[in-house]
């Protein structure tokens, strides 16, 4: 990794008695699309506000391209923000909103006009240059907010749940636009969201936060397929958690008895669970063969839900209940509620998580 665009070391933030951040260490690479993901109140927005300079850390260091900036005011940082509420200036038209940053940096007016024009072209809003923000739709306001930030060619762009206020269809469209835009301009994006799907589809890496702590940082694939903590496993996507105890570096014991293979090399102290995604579990009839080397466990179907492209099963086993998703494909057997059957999975698909 080249020199980090943003590096936080030991950053804490207290609001009076409340500890919002308990010590964040994080390095975000140049040109990376990084998402901070977590439930509301987890500290992700506080982290963003500390990077922007709207708040100052109680302790710790924040470096931007190697320069210590923890205590610099926002106007001294080579960073721009897209706000959740967009925060467009209601008394200025689109053109003046977008040109505000350049005007404050005392760029000459010819260059401002050229760059604002280019920025508006980029977000396809040249035809609304004279409109006031309240005359624009939510999606357009969002694009003005993006143009207003990007026109300054910041080293880092911060986005605070920028799609939260849009309806689902527009949000999906903007997700694609944002990702394309980020790849085109090559600026580091730090994106705050509580929407796991948004984080998974757009990010190069994700940092999952809870209660002021950064629990896990990794690619979307790592976060989804190899969660290290119960919280991360549970927060992202649908997952079944089986309580287990570690018996050897390669084996765990299920709560209902029986040892199954699992990689326990990263198991920390505390309680352990085996986390299994619904799509990595397979169902076969009780008498059917299961491929060699797979983990198998008998169970009984409690519910079945039809999703069109798939069936969703809630299966009761001695180790706990398992959520299973089976593709609706011709040739695959389906099982009615009450059926006794066999659940199997590849040991590599299970993750051992700690809480």
């Amino acid at each position: 990794m080249t020199k980090a665009a943003v590096e936080l070391s030991g950053v804490t933030k207290h609001f009076g008695e409340v500890v919002a951040l308990k010590g964040i260490d994080l390095a975000i690479a140049d040109g990376e699309f990084f998402s901070l993901l977590g439930p509301s109140g987890c500290g992700k927005t506080t982290t963003l506000r500390l990077i922007a300079g709207f708040e100052f850390p109680t302790s710790g260091s924040i470096q931007i391209h190697g320069k210590e900036m923890a205590l610099e005011p926002p106007d001294a940082r080579p960073i721009n923000t897209v706000f959740q509420s967009y925060a467009l200036f209601p008394h200025m038209n689109v053109e003046r909103n977008v040109g505000f940053g350049l005007q404050m940096k005392k760029v000459n007016s010819n260059e401002i006009a050229t760059r604002v024009g280019r920025a508006l072209d980029m977000v396809q809003l040249s035809h609304r240059a004279n409109a006031k923000p309240d005359q624009l739709s939510g999606g357009m306001q969002q694009r003005v907010a993006l143009a207003r930030a990007l026109v300054n060619e910041p080293e880092v762009l911060l986005l605070d749940e920028p799609l939260g206020a849009l309806d689902l269809k527009l949000r999906q469209q903007m997700q694609i636009e944002l990702k394309e835009l980020q790849e085109r301009v090559g600026i580091t994006f730090i994106y705050v969201t509580h929407d796991q799907e948004e984080a998974l589809t757009m990010s190069d890496r994700i940092g999952v936060m809870d209660k002021g702590e950064l629990l896990q940082v990794g690619t979307p694939k790592e976060i989804y397929e190899s969660p290290t903590s119960r919280f991360v496993a549970d927060f992202i996507g649908d997952i079944s958690l089986l309580a287990v105890s570690v018996v050897s570096p390669t084996e765990v014991r299920l709560s209902g008895g029986g040892n199954v293979p699992a990689d326990t090399s990263n198991a920390g102290d505390g309680s352990h669970w085996l986390a299994l995604r619904p799509e990595s579990l397979h169902l076969v009839s009780a008498a059917a063969d299961v491929p060699d080397g797979m983990v198998r466990i008998p169970g009984k179907v409690r519910h079945r839900v039809y999703y069109g492209d798939s069936y969703f099963y809630d299966v009761e086993t001695t180790a706990g209940s398992l959520d299973v998703r089976q593709e609706n494909r011709p040739g695959l057997p389906t099982f009615d509620a009450g059926t006794e059957l066999m659940v199997w999975w590849n040991p590599a698909a299970g993750s051992l998580v700690t809480a």
Binding site: D75, N80, F89, F100, G138
Partner: protein, 283 residues
């Protein structure tokens, strides 16, 4: 649509509304009509004439009082608007010791009876005069003391109006300005001030109206030669009602209505409803 109530209740309510309005506006109507009365005897109709308006405008005492009123209200409005706006900003934006107490105390001058305010100011000036006299110059009641008293009660009104406006502003707008490289002063000048301007102007007009109309406080702290228009009218009426009073009062009424109307107009500006959730609606 058919009313769910008995028709006579509807009629009673309608009648009540008319009675209330009559109660408010008949005296005003009488005043305005009689200000055009040609007769010199109050209460006897002598035909329509603008005579009293002419006499008022030719009356040097009236014009003197008007001049004092304009000086007092002009200066006290400007000063109280600046201080009141600053106070509203301080209480709304900054955390400091005693902020909550100050917030509550801001409303005090609004609820204190005028007479109490007047006595307070008079006692205050008496002490200050004593102190000033120790240093040398003699200071006594006059236009300056009226201006100071008016500033004292107007600050509260301005601050309350400006605070209401500040409360409607999305705080992230100021953060956005800072984020876009504006310093603290530029942020205030280019974002905060334009956004609270309707509140500031509304507060200023309210202050102007209150200052122009004030009798009680002014009468306590006025000195020789500092008679304002309302004080002059009050004096006239004690010497017997002159038809000039009707003309002066009508003019003051129109001025007050115009100022209050303008103030209300400035305070509700639908074009910039700036709460964030207003803007989140997809159109």
């Amino acid at each position: 649509m058919k009313s769910l109530r008995h028709p006579w209740i509807d009629r009673l309510m309608a009648t009540n509304a008319w009675v209330v309005y009559a109660f408010f506006y008949l005296p005003i109507l009488v005043l305005v009509v009689f200000s055009f009365n040609a007769s010199a005897r109050v209460g006897i109709w002598g035909g329509v004439s603008p005579r009293w308006y002419g006499e008022v405008l030719g009356n040097a005492e009236v014009l003197d009082a008007l001049k004092n009123s304009l000086i007092v209200s002009g200066i006290s409005t400007i000063v109280s608007t600046i201080i009141g706006t600053a106070a509203a900003l301080a209480i709304d934006r900054y955390r400091f010791r005693g902020r909550r107490g100050l917030d509550g105390m801001l409303y005090l001058p609004i609820i204190i009876p005028d007479v109490t305010m007047a006595v307070m100011m008079l006692l205050f000036f008496a002490r200050v005069f004593d102190i000033v006299e120790l240093v040398g110059p003699r200071w006594q009641l006059g236009v300056t003391t009226i201006v100071i008293s008016h500033v004292a009660f107007n600050i509260a009104f301005v601050a309350v109006v400006v605070r209401a406006r500040l409360g409607q502003i999305d705080k992230s707008l100021e953060e956005a300005a800072r984020d876009l490289y504006a310093g603290a002063w530029q942020t205030f000048r280019r974002v905060t001030l334009p956004l609270i301007m309707p509140g500031v102007l509304g507060g200023a007009l309210l202050a102007l109206t209150l200052s122009l109309d004030d009798v009680v406080v002014t009468s306590f702290v006025a000195g020789p030669g500092s008679t304002t228009l309302p004080i002059y009218v009050f004096g006239l009426i004690r010497r017997g009602v002159s038809p000039q009073i009707n003309a002066i009062s009508s003019l003051m009424l129109i001025a007050s209505i115009a100022l209050v109307g303008l103030s209300l107009l400035l305070q509700r500006n639908p074009q910039d409803a700036i709460l964030p959730d207003e803007r989140l609606k997809e159109t």
